[in-house]
């Protein structure tokens, strides 16, 4: 199937600004779905609120555009109710780790078979450029005229500590690499997190003098390095990319099935 066959072209043009990284994430994701040969009827995408969350409207899957931060809670309901479905949950900074932070750590803890894609652009784009829990210190935002003093979350470390059994990071510059990680994440049995650094030239880039989209993409190339690479060894300040966690652990819906067997005393 061609990539465009996974899109609801009726609903285009999309709302994203020119140069926004979210379209690249969408493309990486659709390539992953296509390469895996997943049937569209078997995929449910739930999303929250924000620029990133609008992704669910454009894909020709079952799509559930929910409340800010709650996408994983809705997804948990869908998944447990019908475990055969593949759940894809793209989330922005706020969805994943501010208002939705509790759902994020608990979905990870349960190790429920859902793929969370954190589209990290270090800013709240839709509301016009306020800092997020992924901005980090010393950043300019409309709610930080004197620069931020808030520390950022490290999505990878947080996901790992919370119990996610697959954790990876890439960027929109590394679109093919993102596709590879997304494929592995979707095939992984358990809660998988793929963080993709995604540029918001309109707000983050402009305010923090990172230039427009091509400059920001270049920056992802220059400020990140593959896990285990020489570059990372030489310069540990670079942001590592790669697969950080890939473990087999009891998956929630499967554990539930075992519980049902127990409840029925083996009568099933």
């Amino acid at each position: 199937m061609a990539i465009k066959d996974y899109l609801r072209q009726r609903f285009f043009p999309h709302i994203w600004c020119p140069g926004c990284g979210h379209g690249i994430v969408l493309s990486s994701l659709l390539h992953a779905v296509e390469e895996l040969g997943l049937a569209k009827n078997d995929i449910v995408m739930t999303s929250g609120i924000g620029c990133s969350a609008r992704i669910s409207g454009y894909v020709d899957f079952h799509s559930l555009h929910t409340l800010h931060g709650r996408a994983l809670a809705f997804a948990t309901g869908v998944k447990l109710a019908k475990p055969a479905l593949n759940l894809l949950v793209p989330m922005g900074d706020g969805d994943a780790l501010a208002i939705g932070g509790n759902h994020f750590i608990h979905a990870a803890r349960r190790n429920i078979n859902i793929t969370a894609i954190v589209m990290n652009n270090r800013i709240y784009g839709m509301t016009g450029g306020q800092f997020s829990p992924l901005s980090g210190c010393g950043k300019r935002a409309t709610t930080a005229p004197f620069l931020t003093i808030d520390q950022e979350f490290d999505v990878v470390k947080l996901a790992k500590a919370a119990g996610a059994s697959f954790v990876a990071r890439s960027t929109t510059y590394h679109a093919k690499e993102s596709t590879l990680y997304l494929k592995k994440a979707i095939m992984h049995k358990g809660f998988s997190v793929v963080e993709i650094l995604s540029q918001c030239p309109t707000h983050y880039g402009r305010k923090n003098k990172e230039g427009d989209a091509p400059d920001m993409l270049e920056l992802y190339k220059d400020t990140t390095a593959k896990l285990g690479s020489k570059a990372l060894e030489k310069n540990p300040d670079l942001i590592p990319r790669g697969i950080f966690v890939e473990e087999e652990r009891g998956e929630y819906c499967e554990e539930y099935d075992k519980l049902v067997d127990k409840a029925m005393g083996g009568a099933r």
Binding site: V44, H62, S63, L64, H65, T66, A75, G77, H106, Y256
Partner: protein, 382 residues
């Protein structure tokens, strides 16, 4: 008729009703005085092939049942005041996206943490207007366990019929009190199943295009129709729209589908009402005291009766006006500061003859409490 008589708490009667109605997915978070519902279902659902999940919080529980409902399950959550507050955002989502679901609120004293182990009926208005924006809502209530069972079955039926969240407004006294419950035989009470679209594969299915009768057939997530569900105003495809005509029509639809069907949605019971000079309007555990008082006063020849509400929202304004039209006085008996009172006053022709008999201290209102007010109204002194 074998083995179908139980001696249970109201919360368990609610569980029995829900399972009878076809509940097969529950998500919740423990909160007094509703916890027995979750505890009971954590054992019952897995044995019945259903799903039970204890979520990380009240908000997540509400979101999870909405997600599960979209796969075709009959879903429910249960809570009390503070949890009910937290669920309001997602209840609004279920109103907007028109997702069938049932929310039991076993009321305790509020506001805030309030009086967790004591009775109250303070969430009547929150059930109506807890979530923001104009919307229609259904809230049901009951005063005894047989009715808790029946009204719970009704709640699931109405949720499916109108594609809407339905609130079960129970209270601590009903939830924790034990009394007899006879579980009806299978088939004795009607069950409304999910109305699914007859549109086949390859043909456009419009999830938000009402049929002529106003109902919206659904398609389960995972089936052949892939569509969008959103809390934004949306068109017949479920795709976000801020077109003024689309917004206007959708808002009217989600309000009118409830308000235009008040007659088929609302439920009430009449106790000694025919010739009553004094009409007590009550519901939930308060109604038990009102009924008790009416019985006693009738023995003495006093013309007093009870209009027991089994549904509060949409408010049965026309019915209240009619039933109260011949009364010398109307006494609203409830455990709050007059939430149903305000509705009754605005429904009747003579609001000056409507009085409140209430208790708000966490104790169940007694027949004596009501009698004292009645004596004053009747000019018989305090």
């Amino acid at each position: 008729m074998k083995n179908n008589i139980r001696f249970v708490q109201g919360n368990e009667a609610c569980v029995e009703g829900a399972l009878y109605a076809g509940l097969n997915f529950y998500a919740g978070y423990p909160i007094t005085p509703s916890t027995e519902i979750a505890e009971s279902l954590s054992g019952r659902l897995p044995r019945a092939g259903g799903k039970f999940i204890q979520m990380e919080d009240e908000i997540a529980s509400m979101c999870a049942i909405i997600g599960a409902s979209l796969t075709g399950k009959k879903v429910m959550t249960a809570t009390s005041g503070p949890g009910f507050s937290l669920k309001q955002e997602a209840i609004g989502y279920a109103c907007m996206a028109e997702i069938p679901c049932v929310i039991a609120n076993v009321q305790r004293g509020g506001p805030s943490t309030g009086n967790p182990t004591h009775v109250s009926q303070g969430d009547v208005n929150q059930a109506r207007w807890g979530t923001h924006g104009d919307h229609g809502i259904i809230a049901l209530t009951a005063s005894n366990h047989q009715d808790v069972f029946a009204i719970t079955v009704d709640a699931f039926n109405l949720a499916e019929t109108y594609r809407t969240p339905v609130i079960l407004l129970l209270d601590e006294a009903i939830g924790h009190m034990r009394e007899k419950l006879v579980i009806p035989e299978e088939g004795a009470l009607p069950i409304v199943d999910r109305l699914r679209t007859s549109v086949g594969k390859g043909v456009d299915y419009h999830p938000y295009l009402p049929r002529e009768d106003g109902r919206l057939p659904m398609s389960d997530f995972g089936d052949v129709h892939r569509y969008n569900v959103t809390g934004l105003f949306h068109d017949m495809w479920g795709f976000p729209s801020n077109n003024p005509r689309v917004v206007n029509e959708l808002l009217h639809h989600i309000v009118d589908k409830i308000e235009n069907n008040v007659h088929s949605i609302t439920r009430h019971k009449e106790h000694f009402l025919e010739d009553a000079d004094y009409v007590m309007v009550s519901y939930g555990s308060s109604a038990r005291s009102a009924i008790h008082l009416a019985k006693n006063r009738r023995k003495r020849g006093e013309k007093i009766g009870v209009l027991e509400l089994q549904s509060i929202w949409p408010f049965p304004t026309a019915m209240i006006r009619e039933k109260c039209s011949g009364a010398k006085a109307v006494i609203v008996v409830e455990m709050n500061m007059g939430q149903v009172l305000a509705q009754v006053k605005s429904a009747v022709d003579h609001p000056e003859n409507v009085f409140l008999a209430n208790r708000i201290d966490g104790e169940l209102i007694t027949p004596t409490d009501i009698k004292q007010l009645l004596r004053v109204i009747q000019g018989r002194g305090v």
